[in-house]
């Protein structure tokens, strides 16, 4: 993906904010989250097992009474150890590699997020939303004294559902389930389902 396009990602919600009226633009919601993720499909084939290394930050602004737009960033770490023999298909010379393989994926989604809230401002607010953007996937295998690593940028989608729970006037809890999908790039795609819990601060009437 063009790196200039990456720079445009934060600019999109900021531009949206400028297009909204001043009062609503002051209503911010920013949060930090921790979660567990379950890899699916090709990600599961590479690193099987639940990950407990997942963090996220997000910043949203209310653009309509029940709609918020912003950016979110995540960091999800998957790892696995396997002694499965790996095969590489070379023309008429297949290669098989045996040994202890340490496999890692560091996935960093960077998304523009739109959320639609229900419920009453100041109370419990269920929401659903979607994130669109890019995802950097750093994939690595250590076997023997060799290391094979590969970084790929993917187009990413991340639908989510969740709920915001009030703690105090400005503090909130939130929980969500988010499915991260990274479209095929360099013959590889990734996906995983995350369950997150976070704490948020807000200004205005989320």
């Amino acid at each position: 993906m063009n790196k200039r396009a990456l720079l445009a990602i934060p600019a999109i919600p900021l531009a949206l904010l400028l297009l909204t009226n001043g009062a609503q633009a002051q209503q911010w919601f920013w949060g930090m989250s921790y979660g567990m993720t379950v890899p699916t499909s090709e990600t599961k084939d590479f690193t099987n097992g639940t990950s407990w290394r997942n963090w996220g930050v997000e910043l949203l602004a209310r653009v309509r009474p029940n709609t918020a737009v912003g950016v979110s960033f995540g960091w999800n770490v998957f790892n696995d150890v396997t002694t499965t023999v790996s095969s590489i298909d070379e023309a008429s010379r297949p290669i098989d590699i045996g040994g202890t393989q340490y496999r890692y994926i560091n996935s960093l989604p960077m998304l523009v997020t739109v959320r639609q809230f229900t419920g009453t401002p100041g109370g419990m607010r269920p929401f659903f939303g979607i994130g669109i953007g890019t995802q950097l996937v750093k994939q690595r295998v250590d076997v023997g004294q060799w290391r094979i690593s590969d970084d790929t940028w993917h187009f990413a989608l991340a639908p989510e559902v969740g709920v915001v729970l009030p703690i105090g006037s400005d503090a909130k809890w939130f929980v969500n389930a988010k499915y991260n999908y990274a479209a095929k790039a360099s013959d590889r795609k990734h996906s995983y389902l995350g369950f997150n819990i976070g704490v948020a601060w807000q200004t205005g009437g989320f």
Binding site: N79, Y102, N106, V143
Partner: protein, 217 residues
């Protein structure tokens, strides 16, 4: 205010302790690797006999002598395991290879090299920052540079190569004999003698185990 901010180093430390690449090899055997490849146009089930060169060829890249890191202590073991491996695949050793050409010929080579590696170590967690060395906050302490540096390590790496050739097709003496199967075994030449011999045995066995297509008629 100081108490409030004193939590920051702990939080920062907790964040730093989160590894991008958790888990790694905890013993030497986990750094061993076996790579095999074969000519998939060959039908191995047509073979029945083999011959094994009676010595391990020690290769020295430095000056082309046999004065390598490898001793001859394990040669007999290596040849015995290769013999057991190929016979486990159903091959029968040709008793008179000088007069009766076997279906396949096995050669074993060994190579040892010394490698140097350099690494840097920072001040966390080697020195410890919080709470043992409160360099960076609180009254009476200014910013400081706790330490760190660069280290080096030297280690020996051994490679064992088992090659299966077709001795019936060297032909005109110019062309090389076709290679049917190759196993490359690589690992650190470190650890105890008993550990090394066990690893050699296991790795040679693994080479045959991950090559089920070798099975003879």
């Amino acid at each position: 205010m100081e108490k409030r901010w004193s939590a920051l180093p702990a939080l920062a430390g907790a964040w730093l302790l989160v590894s991008c690449y958790p888990g790694s090899a905890t013993n030497i055997a986990e750094l061993d690797v076996v790579v095999t490849t074969h000519d998939d146009t060959v039908t191995f089930t047509t073979f029945t006999t083999y011959a094994l060169l009676d010595s391990v060829v020690h290769i020295d890249l430095e000056d082309n002598t046999n004065d390598s890191l490898l001793t001859r202590d394990n040669d007999a073991l290596i040849l015995a395991r290769v013999r057991a491996g190929i016979e486990g695949m159903g091959y029968v050793e040709e008793g008179d290879p000088a007069n009766t050409t076997p279906d396949v010929l096995l050669l074993v080579g060994a190579l040892g090299v010394v490698k140097d590696a350099y690494f840097s170590y920072g001040w966390w967690p080697y020195y410890g920052w919080y709470p043992y060395y409160p360099c960076c906050y609180g009254p009476g302490y200014g910013w400081g540079y706790p330490g760190g540096g660069v280290g080096s390590i030297t280690y020996a790496v051994g490679t064992l190569v088992i090659t299966m050739l077709d001795p019936t097709r060297p032909g005109n003496g110019v062309d090389t004999a076709p290679i049917l199967w190759v196993a490359g075994i690589n690992g650190l030449l470190e650890g105890s003698t008993s550990g090394l011999t066990a690893r050699i045995s296991n790795l040679i066995d693994q080479a045959f185990r991950q090559s089920p297509y070798l099975r003879a008629n």
